[in-house]
Structure formats: structure tokens, C-alpha cells
Amino acid sequence: MNRIPSEDIPDDVLLARYRGGPDTEEGRRAAGQLLGRYRGRVYTWCYRVVGDHDRALDLAQEVLLKAWRALPGFGGRSRVSSWLFAIARNECLTAVRPRTLRVDPHVDPVELLVEHEDPPMVLATREEEAAMEALLRDHLSPVEQEAIWLRCFERLPVPEVTRLLGLTNTSGARSVLQSAREKLRAVLERRRTAP
């Protein structure tokens, strides 16, 4: 039987080995390989969000610790990469915005997007996000929708949004975001003047 180099062993196989004996040496080694192969990517993602080495390293440590502690309960319903990304993404978002958000039910979500640079500070619930999604879909181009989402909800800096969307124009995502906000401002105006 040919042995597969450890870096080529699929995540699912390492996960299965871990589950086969979480407390055995082989199980722990599999867990170490599984989490270790993502450590650079976890750090890189954290760095993209916070833009600071020490802070990104702290966050990455927290992500890997959480993942290690949660590994026994990981059901395998998604890929390991998706699971780790969710942990990293949630950890970074928690780090860059307050743990709880002030939600005012009387504020129009559109107004928040147009008037505030930081709408997620006040938009938190899934229902509000669903309403926002519908709004973006109805009024913005696909690129504008994603740009707004990545900037406002995934909290990525503008240069990262530019890179992720593969924008090559000189102003990058900045002009796309500006155009999106102008369209949303027009929607808001129409709502305000509607009888």
C-alpha cells in the first residue's frame, strides 16, 4: 500500500482518524495535522481584517484554541475549512466590533446604510440582514451588492474588498461603494417622499 504524504491526506481522513480515537496518540496527531495545516491561513485571514501582526496572532491563537476544544463536537456537516473559516470570521468580527449591538427597531435600515459608515453597529439580527439582502438585490448590481456586504458586514478594509472582487479600476472598491451608497440614498429619498 502506498503511503500518502501527511500534507496530502484529505481533511476528512484526518478527521476520521481523530474520531477513531480522540485520546490516542494517533488521534491527537491527526488533530494536530488537521489544525496545523490551516494555521497560516487562519493568521492571514485575521491579519487581513485587523491589519496588525500582534493582534492577528492573538486572534489566530484564539481561533485554533477554540477549534481544538470544539473538535470533539464538530459534526462534519461542512468541510473543515468552512468550519475553521466560520470560527475565524466570527472571532475577528467580535474583535472589531462590540460584543453586543445597540438595535433600534425604529431606525430604517436603508437610512443606516446611507447615513452611517458602520451600519453593522446597529444592524444585528438575521431578520434585519434578510431585509437588507432583499434591498441590495433589488437596487444594486451584483458587484455593488457584494462590495457593500464585504465592507459593511464582513468588516473587510476597502483594499481587501478591491482585491477579493478582483477590481482593477484605479479607485477600486471605493468607487463601487460610493455608487452603491448613492443608489441607496436615492431609494431612501423615494421612501421619504412617498405618500
Binding site: A31, R37, H53, Q61
Partner: protein, 238 residues
């Protein structure tokens, strides 16, 4: 006013979509939230160029030490393959003497010709080897083809499991292989012409047992040649 926790991303929200491009029609219908998060996930898995100021080498070392301490196993893991593109950022090593001459601009055409001959020789060897003996696929073999066939798994509300993959150019048929966690083959379905298959309790292929955890992958075939294969992913048999 009320205080509410932030809205977390559940990994299951991306499950089954990871292999699709954000502008794939099957993803586009999901809306900006999923598209943006899928795009971010792809960037997480394949980060590309490392941002200025990031110190990936140092971070990998420190995080490796952390894992070693927490898990209690000496950590000898390789560099995170996803961040390998970062490493060309390091300054190029200074060369002198023989190496400087060999790797210098004057010798590059000769080196390129040599590399081409090696590749052609390798292709010839592989082809002649394939003609000499029939293709045999075993779950424990090192992949002979690139894992470039996008596949997805979806568990439906009725409990059935939907396996789907993208059509591969030049593929005449597809072969589904199911493996146990120890990588031995438990079932195989050959000569499929569709690009999806539903697994339902009571109508399972021989070798699959309800409730079992198995791994699956799909091979795109052209005659007896495998031209592409998907990643190996796990499912629970309905």
C-alpha cells in the same frame, strides 16, 4: 433599544457550495450574503498574495508551538500549504560562483530546454505505463489526477443525500467511489453519465449501510483513463 449578540456565520451555510465560484448561477441565486461569504471563504482557503506587514513565518512557528502545547503531541506539521505563495516574498538567496553561472540569464534557455525534455520524457513514461497495464484505482493511492472536479454534497430534508459534481470536459462517464474511514473501498458505481446521484435509504448501492460514515469521490473517465477527480469528502449514508 435592546442589546443583541452579533450574528455568527454557521459553517453549514457554506456547506456544499465551497467548490462553486461566487458567480456560478447556483450560487448567484443565494444572494449577496452567501456570495460574499463564499468569496471570503475561498480567499481564506487560498489566500494568494500575503498582505504587506504580515509575518506568516513567525506566526506559523508560534501557532505550531501553541498546538504542540495544547494537543500534547510534538508538532512537526509542514508549512501551511495555503500560505506557501507568501514565501516568495522572502529575499532571494545570494548566489555566487558555480550556482550564479548555472542559474544566470545565459543558462536559462538551456535550463528551459532541459526542463521541457524532462516533462516530455515523463509524459512518455506515464503513457507507456498506462498502455502496459490497465488502470486500477484504489482509495489509498496517491491521486493520479488533479483534484479539479468540483463536487458538492447536500443532505435533503427527507434524509436523502444528494451528490453532485460539475461536468468535466472530455469526460465520457463518471465513476463514484465510496471508501471507509480507513480508506478501503466499500462501493463503486461505474459508467455514470449524469452529474448527480441521490442516495436514499432502502435503495442503496451494495456495500453502503444506512448510518455509516463513508468518504466519497467521483472520477471523470475517458475510456479507461481517469482525467479528473474530485476531493474526497465524508457523508453519512441515509
Amino acid at each position: 433599544m435592546s442589546d443583541r449578540p452579533i450574528d455568527p456565520l454557521e459553517p453549514e451555510e457554506l456547506a456544499g457550495l465551497e467548490d462553486f465560484a461566487p458567480d456560478d448561477p447556483r450560487v448567484a441565486a443565494r444572494g449577496p450574503r452567501v456570495r460574499a461569504q463564499l468569496r471570503a471563504h475561498r480567499d481564506f482557503v487560498t489566500p494568494g498574495e500575503i498582505p504587506d506587514g504580515a509575518r506568516v513565518d513567525e506566526a506559523e512557528q508560534r501557532l505550531g508551538q501553541l498546538l504542540e502545547r495544547e494537543i500534547g503531541i510534538p508538532f512537526t506539521g509542514p508549512i501551511d500549504p495555503g500560505t506557501m505563495p507568501a514565501h516568495p516574498i522572502r529575499p532571494a538567496p545570494v548566489r555566487d560562483g558555480f550556482w550564479s553561472w548555472l542559474l544566470g540569464p545565459r543558462m536559462r534557455p538551456a535550463l528551459a530546454l532541459g526542463a521541457l525534455l524532462v516533462v516530455l520524457g515523463g509524459v512518455w513514461l506515464v503513457r507507456s505505463g498506462r498502455q502496459a497495464q490497465p488502470t486500477v484505482m484504489r482509495g489509498t493511492e496517491t491521486p493520479a489526477s488533479p483534484t479539479d472536479l468540483a463536487s458538492a454534497t447536500l443532505t435533503r430534508d427527507d434524509g436523502s443525500v444528494h451528490l453532485e459534481w460539475l461536468a468535466a470536459p472530455r469526460a465520457a462517464s463518471y465513476t463514484l467511489v465510496f471508501l471507509s474511514p480507513d480508506l478501503s473501498e466499500v462501493a463503486r458505481i461505474s459508467d455514470l453519465h449524469a452529474t448527480s446521484l441521490d442516495l436514499r435509504a432502502g435503495a442503496l448501492p451494495t456495500g453502503l449501510a444506512s448510518g455509516a460514515s463513508v468518504l466519497w469521490r467521483v472520477h471523470a473517465m475517458s475510456g479507461n483513463d481517469e482525467i479528473a477527480r474530485s476531493r474526497t469528502t465524508s457523508i453519512t449514508v441515509p
